[in-house]
Amino acid sequence: MSPWMLEARRAVRAWRPSSRPGAATLFVQPGRVWQLHSAVPATELDSVPAWCHQHPGTSLRLLVSGHLTHQLCANDPTLPLHSEEDVQAWARHQWQHYHGSVAEQWPMVAWCRGDERGASALHGLDLAALRQAAQAHRVSLLAVDPWWTAALRRVSIVRPAWGQGKRATLWLVEGALCTAVQVAEGRVLDLRTRYLEAANAEALAERLLGLGDDDSLLPGDLLMGYGIDGEARLPAVMHSARLGTLAGGCPVPVEGAG
């Protein structure tokens, strides 16, 4: 096949929807990269550029851990944010206030869909370098998504009715990091980040059950994630809310949910 035909095939493949089968899904954590499989356990990789080097001409989709992103929701309805640009400017200003000028360079994505207003920033990953590495090996980088949005996708598949009614929370545990995605009637109302004392069952139970308020695990909430030691010691109420194991080194893929 001539080079220009190969290039044409790559261009067409890149244009196809990112959820198409055949594209590899890598989960990126600080210092670790996993390839998620639908039928077999995830495999740990050296790096994203190394994977691109080994799989030239393929397609790739990256899920980024909450350890590498920041989330912010504009919950105050009086804030004059009427477009994605407004939300992005507001969020960048907030992050610059807390993290300094480095936040100016973070890749960001903002959304403004009715009362769903917020932004995510990628602070722990060199997106430009990743794209360059992918391009060098003719790998189509289809998507770079924060894990919480991929987790919502997974929930919509295994629990289609969840979150379409009254308020509920999806607790995403990544070791000592816990991201609470609060939803109602199919909308994302809030994204909050909480930290555990340790990445084990006791600390998780203490954080999610100890307060007993709106910031706690309530009936109807879901719990998913990875990196928790002693999963078996979790209270029964957390077991029932659990969506898949919390013990692995990375999230289980969509098809492997149980």
């Binding site: 990112s18 960001m108 994505v109 995510s120 997106l127 289809l142 949005t149 919502l152 289609p160 909308r187």
Partner: protein
């Protein structure tokens, strides 16, 4: 059942909306083909219009030629006819007038007069009438001589009958036995002018 609302989906890469370059290449090729087809169609349509115009012109010329030939044939036929019709001769005219007069002759008055004055016992055998001269010659059978004379007298009394006379009378044999055969001549005013 209410349709589930799709969850918010965000990503750090811009959603790719632009079509890849092979799609543009295909589009350009498609447009090129379309243009070529349109030009071909235009040429074909122009050729069709020209052909139809040529056909119409040929048909008009053919009709003109046929019309011209027909006029020439008519002119030739007219030329072959006598320049002027020969006027009818006097005799022809007279004969024609005579035939017309015979058709208009008052035969009804002649027969009405004969029927009115034919008594019982009298039979007519022959009638000759020269319409132009107004002469009448009659021949008949009468059972008695008196009846024949009676007819002569009655016809003579008619206003338009003149010179009624018995020209012959002789014994004969009729269907009912012995009878008189007679012949009479007369002139009538019924003759033609």
């Amino acid at each position: 059942m209410r349709q589930a609302r799709a969850w918010l989906q965000v990503g750090f890469l811009p959603r790719r909306q632009r079509a890849p370059w092979p799609a543009w290449a295909l589009l350009v090729c498609g447009m090129g083909l379309f243009m070529a087809a349109a030009l071909d169609w235009r040429e074909a349509d122009t050729a069709r219009v020209d052909a139809e115009q040529a056909l119409r012109t040929w048909q008009e010329e053919r009709q003109d030629e046929q019309l011209r030939q027909r006029r020439q044939a008519q002119a030739a036929a007219t030329a072959s006819m006598p320049a002027k019709a020969t006027p009818p001769s006097r005799e022809t005219l007279r004969n024609a007038q005579r035939v017309a007069a015979l058709l208009d002759h008052r035969w009804d008055q002649l027969f009405a007069a004969l029927e009115a004055h034919t008594p019982a016992g009298l039979q007519w055998l022959r009638l000759e009438h020269e319409a132009e001269a107004g002469e009448v010659q009659l021949e008949g059978l009468a059972s008695e001589g008196r009846l024949a004379l009676q007819v002569v007298d009655a016809l003579a009394a008619e206003p338009r009958w003149h010179e009624v006379a018995m020209s012959r009378l002789e014994a004969g044999q009729g269907a009912e036995g012995a009878s008189l055969r007679f012949e009479l001549r007369a002139r009538t005013g019924l003759n033609l002018p």
